[in-house]
Symmetry: C2
Subunit: 341 residues, 2 copies
């Protein structure tokens, strides 16, 4: 073992001399957290052939189901510089893949923050991705929402309004100067998963269970993850030590703003907000919520990227061509809050 | 950068001196592969409130959907010893989580094989996990299957027959000497995802697209992944260089066995097969298929773990307490085939 270690260390040293990159990881793995059991009864027994050419098995759908658990993958760097773990929470209709390799093949924020020495927990919200989803309407009472390929192109401030999407990249009509890599858009649509709009409560419960398991921590949340991050921080103000909110799609509980007074937060917005049909209101709601946090004695920073010269960013800024610049802004903010060793 | 590298190398060396473990990773990331577009029309436009307190958005469900793509996560170790990448394909109702951390918290096969110097590609089959799933019955024509908590306990040869499952671990009735960690069973049920039984063709198409992208390679497949591995190897005999089949739930195309004559394979079975209602037939079918491969001039090895003294293994042997022993059996087989540098 010692010999292997020596070899590895020398190999790492040699690798470092010739190229950057590489991730020295002390530990990595995954787990599911939270969820509950639901019992169904009165349903007919089925015979199911699980595999063509296999042997049929009886499947009794009556019984106890495990539902509303959440999948989390984690990476612990060998050289830790972040003082606390960094939890990454994705937006609606997506999974933790949001923060992995970018749709154009570039390195995502998971790798960026591991390389900066952060222990990273990247999760799939309840009913998304590796968290699985529950039978409906028997358990989840409503239907899921599916997105067409063109829907996020307009809604995520990549395309210039109605009919800006085209399957042919050369015919796409992006917002002027947009940083989303158009040639990666098709790959991005492969990351989109079905999602419900009625599952806020179980999602918040699972994130709270995660915080109870692995925090104190910092939560970095995108879009739909933003209001979840606010609410979980309000429920666990002793465990969530900072919030990085990337274009949060909503705010926290206005009746309990004082719970956030000791949790520094930063809200970050990309470009084209003013010209969008929805984002001026969504951002204004958060600015009002930030005012309330400040009035309660808390600290809430606002970063409008275009105002600091970082232009052209879509709602999916962690996938934009200049995603590394924005990660660096976040890293600098975290350093400024004394969260880096 | 050089200073950071030196520090990292010294830290790794220091870490090695005190403990085993750690993963020196040159690169890691993820991508989606395969899939197709489907156009839906004639459906009513909805107004959807994606986030409570947000701003409603119109959602037109008519349009083009991306479906049947497959998610793949990869890890490239700094010190590569495997001559080819190792692709891990999971079984039915599960995802790539199968090979990650075990339900009892122990290290899974992804980490094991990375530490042995293999580049690992771990995927979620079409319509499972981070691959997403398509609208049904509009796109996928049939309904998915959901498993109760007790179903895999009997069917995966953990429990001793009917009514062997209990929510109370102390009241579970495992098969005598069973190696599945009972205290981890509840976590295991959190890994189970809905699955269809009508999606073999798109799953095989996506695995074939993966093989076209990253192979030549070795495929390690479990249960439902087994017949997929056989069929993809038959479709790409020049790219799949070896097959490790862990309790394959089916076989390949009997009309095209000669395509497998240059692809060494090993089929591995755990304990209790003889006393199960379905596994004697499933194994016998594969043994017959192996005979056909041999008759065509190919090599097909069979490992019955109990016969070599490794006893008590369930269908989920990569999660069993002695999963490392079985990984070592696989590693030894791969070394014997000259696939390790």
């Amino acid at each position: 073992m010692i010999r292997l270690c020596l070899t590895l260390s020398i190999a790492l040293l040699a690798g470092c001399a010739t190229q950057q990159g590489g991730l020295a990881i002390k530990d990595m793995g995954s787990f599911h957290v939270g969820g509950r059991e639901v019992t169904l009864s009165g349903l007919p027994v089925k015979e199911v052939l699980f595999t063509a050419g296999g042997v049929p098995a009886k499947l009794d759908p009556n019984g106890v189901y495990q539902v509303e658990q959440m999948y989390v993958q984690y990476f612990v760097p060998s050289q830790q510089r972040g003082k606390l773990p960094l939890l990454m929470w994705h937006g609606g209709g997506l999974t933790g893949v949001t923060y992995e390799t970018k749709p154009d093949g570039g390195e995502g924020w998971v790798n960026f923050f591991i390389k900066q020495g952060w222990t990273v927990y990247n999760s799939d919200a309840v009913e998304r991705g590796r968290s699985g989803w529950a039978m409906y309407p028997e358990i989840t009472k409503t239907e899921p929402v599916f997105l067409t390929k063109e829907n996020p192109f307009e809604r995520f401030r990549i395309g210039a309004g109605a009919n800006s999407y085209s399957k042919d990249v050369s015919k796409m009509k992006p917002l002027p100067g947009n940083q989303f890599p158009l040639e990666g858009y098709d790959n991005f649509t492969k990351q989109v998963v079905p999602r419900w709009t009625s599952t806020d409560a179980p999602i918040i419960a699972a994130y709270t269970a995660l915080v109870d398991k692995v925090c104190p921590c910092i939560v970095l949340a995108h879009s739909q993850g933003g209001p979840f991050a606010y609410r979980v921080a309000q429920a666990r103000p002793d465990k969530v030590k900072a919030l990085v909110l990337v274009e949060p799609a909503g705010v926290g509980d206005a009746a309990n703003v004082s719970a956030l007074k000791n949790i520094p937060s930063v809200s970050i917005y990309g470009d084209y907000v003013e010209t969008d049909s929805r984002w001026p209101t969504i951002r204004a709601n958060n600015m009002k919520f930030q005012d309330a946090i400040r009035a309660a004695g808390g600290k809430a920073d606002l970063i409008n990227l275009p105002a600091m010269g970082i232009k052209g960013n879509s709602h999916m800024m962690m996938m934009d061509k200049n995603s590394g610049d924005i990660a660096a802004v976040i890293q600098k903010w975290l350093e400024g809050k004394g969260l880096v060793q």
